[in-house]
């Protein structure tokens, strides 16, 4: 590492070791041990950080009370929203699993709906069971039914 690279490291990560990238820490310390320019550069950045920390900050003591005293608005709520929230809970921890489940169940529900309304060419009427009464009458009229067996 050279001085230019060290300068840029300080500019990007600051002059405090805890901010430096792990793979650069050793190189930085090596440079700081041997190079006087590096030492003075670190001093300059340390001084800047220190001055930044000392800059004026206004007092926000009353702000907490102002925020808490403020009348909180009612969340937009009506029957439809409540119903929707009940069916599809919006809270992050719940929607994490509820929404994928709902999404996965949609094709199934759609299939049930389609199957209920359309036959898709499958003729259920071919089933003999719907004509059982007629068949029974015919069987009764055949005298020799079962004799050949």
């Amino acid at each position: 590492m050279n001085i230019k690279q060290l300068t840029l490291t300080f500019e990007v990560y600051g002059s405090q070791p805890e901010g430096w990238p792990i793979d650069k820490v050793e190189e930085i310390y090596d440079l700081l041990k041997t190079n006087s320019d590096a030492i003075s550069l670190k001093k300059e950045f340390d001084e800047m950080d220190q001055t930044l920390n000392e800059l004026y900050l206004p007092n926000f003591d009353n702000l907490t009370q102002q925020i808490l005293d403020r009348q909180l608005p009612q969340r937009n709520s009506n029957l439809a929203t409540d119903l929707l929230n009940w069916i599809w809970p919006a809270h992050p921890s719940i929607r994490l699993f509820w929404r994928p489940i709902s999404a996965a169940a949609l094709p199934l529900l759609f299939g049930v709906f389609l199957g209920n309304y359309f036959s898709f060419g499958i003729n259920y009427e071919s089933s003999d069971s719907e004509y059982w009464a007629e068949e029974l009458t015919i069987l009764a009229l055949i005298d020799n039914y079962g004799e050949d067996l």
């Binding site: 800059l55 900050l57 102002q66 403020r70």
Partner: protein, 212 residues
Amino acid sequence: MAEKLAIVIKMTDEELMKAVHDGDHTAYKTLVNSHIKSVSRCAYRILGNRNDAADICQETFLRVWQHPEKWEPKKSKLATWLYKITYNLCVDQLRKHRKNSYVSDPQKEFEEILRSTDTEEIHSTIKHKRLNFGLKMLPENQRSALTLCHYSGFSNKEAAEIMNVSLRALESSLARARRSLKKVLSNPSEINFDTGYPSDYLEETSTEKSLL
């Protein structure tokens, strides 16, 4: 009430936000108390004005109350989400007033800062005044990057997430901000008052390109 407060204080961020979502005022109070200091300081550093920062804080917590479901714990920490709201509101505020940097006349401002005897400035040394001026002169993205990383203690990656920029862009802003401030601190005569920035501020150095 005291029992309830004790329970709320022990809650994790997720439990706390679930309680806020359910309309629990004690949970909301705990949330405000835990984060007001950091949020207000961040807003002040970005905006440079106490009243504006206070308004932004009020709006931030109001939004949390109205839309707690927007926080996604798997995606970001609660603090990161709060800072994101604050940052976006600050940027909107600055854009609304059409001021990227909030100094309209840098030369006049600099002279006033050096002469200043305001209560807020009275204990400041020339060094502090110079740096305060430099901070005010930084473009919004650089000032925000420095605020989030230096003052709020976020990592570069987290700050990039809050500002919704790439890590590279964030690090470039940080480098430029610190470079400018260092120049303001060491040699204020290098400040170009036409632009408000140190004279070589706009130069993209080849070193930065190759090393970042």
